[in-house]
């Protein structure tokens, strides 16, 4: 922890990134408190109002307060991206760890599958997955989560391969510990740093993918205040929606930027090989 603070103190971009993330998180957590209106609360006959003192950013096509929706949108957007990234992280790490640790045919089989998945551009893979599963936000999570898993698998496998030959693992082997114990207690905790880096950067990627899919109309219920869906909703409203598109897109950009800045910083700190750069 002390290390982390020291790292933060010296790393400007990471500070900035963390600040952006904190801002968005604060918006997400306190959305209910800060926002003057409910995210679904429609003011009758008040469509596309211009920004004013009551509606700070105006209203949307339904007469709902844009500012409130953006705040609640932070919540949905972060949760969806977090769920997708966690899914990628868990499945990817599991596959990578098994492949790296057991080697031979397990490795062969699993990595073939990973390679196979990587033979489809991941965004396209997600599109097709949503086509099959059906259009909804939950399915977007599955699609983006699965499409993002292979990169975690590769990273974790490489890490496990490196660790497996190290002395302390050999020692654990000679003590007769079970595979699962060695994997769980000795190897995986040591893979944590690259996974955290990849996960942080993956958050940015997930937000972009989800927003992209929502933009393509694959996001299901368009009224959920998720930023990608809000952008799409504005897009479909022609002239009057332009402001909504602009502002929702800016929110996405800022959040992704935050995760990328912070992720890059973490990488500099946690990954000794890249630190020299």
């Amino acid at each position: 922890m002390k290390d982390f603070v020291r790292f933060l103190k010296t790393h400007r971009p990471a500070q900035f990134g963390l600040a952006l993330i904190a801002l968005v998180m604060a918006a997400a957590v306190f959305a209910g408190v800060i926002s003057p209106f409910g995210p679904m609360e429609a003011v009758p006959n008040a469509f596309f109002l211009k920004p004013s003192t009551t509606h700070w950013l105006g209203t949307d096509s339904q007469g709902r307060d844009l500012f409130s929706r953006l705040l609640h949108g932070a919540r949905y957007t972060l949760l969806v991206a977090l769920a997708a990234t966690t899914l990628s992280l868990l499945t990817g790490s599991l596959v990578g760890a098994l492949a790296g640790y057991f080697g031979r045919w397990v490795d062969m089989l699993l990595m073939r599958c990973v390679d196979f998945m990587m033979s489809f551009p991941s965004f396209l893979l997600a599109c097709v997955a949503v086509a099959i599963l059906g259009k909804s936000l939950e399915n977007l999570i599955w699609a983006v989560g699965i499409a993002g898993a292979p990169s975690f698998a590769r990273q974790v496998r490489a890490e496990v391969l490196r660790l497996r030959s190290l002395e302390f693992v050999e020692a654990a082997h000679s003590l007769g510990y079970s595979h699962w114990r060695i994997l769980g207690r000795h190897i995986l905790p040591n893979c944590l740093s690259p996974v955290i880096v990849l996960g942080t950067l993956g958050m940015g990627g997930s937000i972009l993918s989800v927003a992209g899919l929502a933009f393509l109309g694959l996001g299901g219920d368009p009224f959920v205040p998720e930023w990608g869906l809000m952008l799409k909703l504005g897009w479909d409203q022609s002239t009057h929606g332009a402001f909504q598109v602009g502002i929702a897109g800016a929110c996405i950009l800022v959040t992704v930027l935050g995760f990328n800045l912070f992720g890059d910083g973490l990488r500099d700190w946690l990954d000794p090989r890249s630190r020299t750069r």
Binding site: P44, F47, S61, F223, T239, H240
Partner: protein, 555 residues
Amino acid sequence: MNRPIWAVTLVVATFALAACGGGKEIEKVEAQDVLKILRSDKFEILDPQASSSGGDVAIVSQMYEGLVRAPAIEGGPITVPKWEPSLATDWKIEDSARVYTFTLRQGVKFHDGAELDADAVKRSFERLLVKDHPAAPTKRPYAGDLADISKMDVVDARTIRFTLRDSNPRFLANVSLHAAFIISPRAIDEMTREKDAAKRQAWLIKNTAGTGPYRIAKADDYRGSESVTLTAFDDYWGGKPRIGLLSFTTMTDHKSRREQIVAGAAGFTDTLLPSDWDDLGKNKDVTLFTWDAINIMYLAMNCDQTKNFPTKDKRVRDAIAMAIDRAPFVERYYGAAKPAHVLIPYTMPFGFPRDYKPKTDTLSREDALAKAKALVKEAGADGSVMKLILPEVPRPYLLYPRELADLIRQQLEPIGLKIELEPRKMAEIGEMIPKGDYPLMLLGWMGDNGEPDNFWRPLLDGDKDENGNWKPGDNNLARFFHPEVHARIEAAGREADISKRDRMYKELEMWAHDEFRPIVPLLTAKKSYCWSAKLKGVRVDTGDQFYLDKAYYEK
């Protein structure tokens, strides 16, 4: 040689080659000789007998013509259906609307050079109607509308007589449909050579065989489902159109269409969102044309007694009808819609009971809600959960499907009904209807031919299945069938006297909703075209179609 010099030489040589000509000839079209048209939908089937989507029909209507055509919209409601001469200059209706004799226009040429005569008309109709016709396309979705032709006689080269199975005063309306456009006999010969129906249908994408003002001049003018170029037909009987080329491009989103038309990057577009109409109306660079179209958006309630939905109880259906307040629906259209209380839209020339409202719609809001609540309780449906099926993408009469469905959900909540929205693709909805596994569905209907029959028959009538039992038709969302309603639809459809028919439809309307309440009509939406202010002479007919044969640019 040094590498950079070599590369520069190559580039220079390329441009020198390009500059000195000698390539394939291509002529740059002057801006006043072309109209760039944006469409919200695609161009997929350009065979008039097989087309059904809006984009296809828009293109087909520039290239083909029927015996009669719908009149232009000239403001104000049309009270009597009238049909204008097109390929037929005159017609006679005999034997209480059972025999129709058309006199054909003289000197009409098809794009392929063939002459229009009675035999050509007959052969074109045969391709539409004869089962397993050797030149038929894969599907003929409107063939049913003309299936009552029992005999076609070529009286002489310029006269053709149709004999119908039964008297049908709606026949002229059906003959004006795009499916009855006349296709050249030479093209039919050509297509007969092709064994595969899909390839026959596709043949008309690369060739045209109509008599209309525009044609496909080269096979490559169809550039896939998003871009088609039509060329003026020199020998058009009405005179060669003044605008030489029509360049159709698909542009699905409203935003892009609006921006391009305002920026002058395109000259004509269909459907723009009503929320943009205000600004466009004030814009001096464009002409916004809006009209009261013949369509209805409604909430269908499943009446199937074999299914266990709460809506099978008429009390629940009445309650739903009472609880619906149309004002917020109309609001969402920015004034581009009018509330509807009966099946037939107010835009229909006849059969619309102007000052009538069903009993459920005449109560005050408070009374209606209280009564609806009581009815739901009485029927034991209090707290029941129902699915509402709606289309995923907007339809011309349902521009905001998700928004309007949500309004229904909000309005039915206070009377104790919980609604779950379920957006589906149109293709899936098409599958669901015959199965009837849904309590509520939000959709609508666009008139094909300006006839009340065209609403009653598909939406609230049915036909016999193979066992001789009556069942609701495939577009009957409410799964409603009643023998007496059926009998009255049949009778009105056969009646030749227009004022009698008008009364019959009105009476049916004033009886059926109170008696059965299968649907809640919600609204009739206006439609729009928008074009460059310089473009004059556009004709829009009561079938919502635009024509450019007399269009020109003002200097």
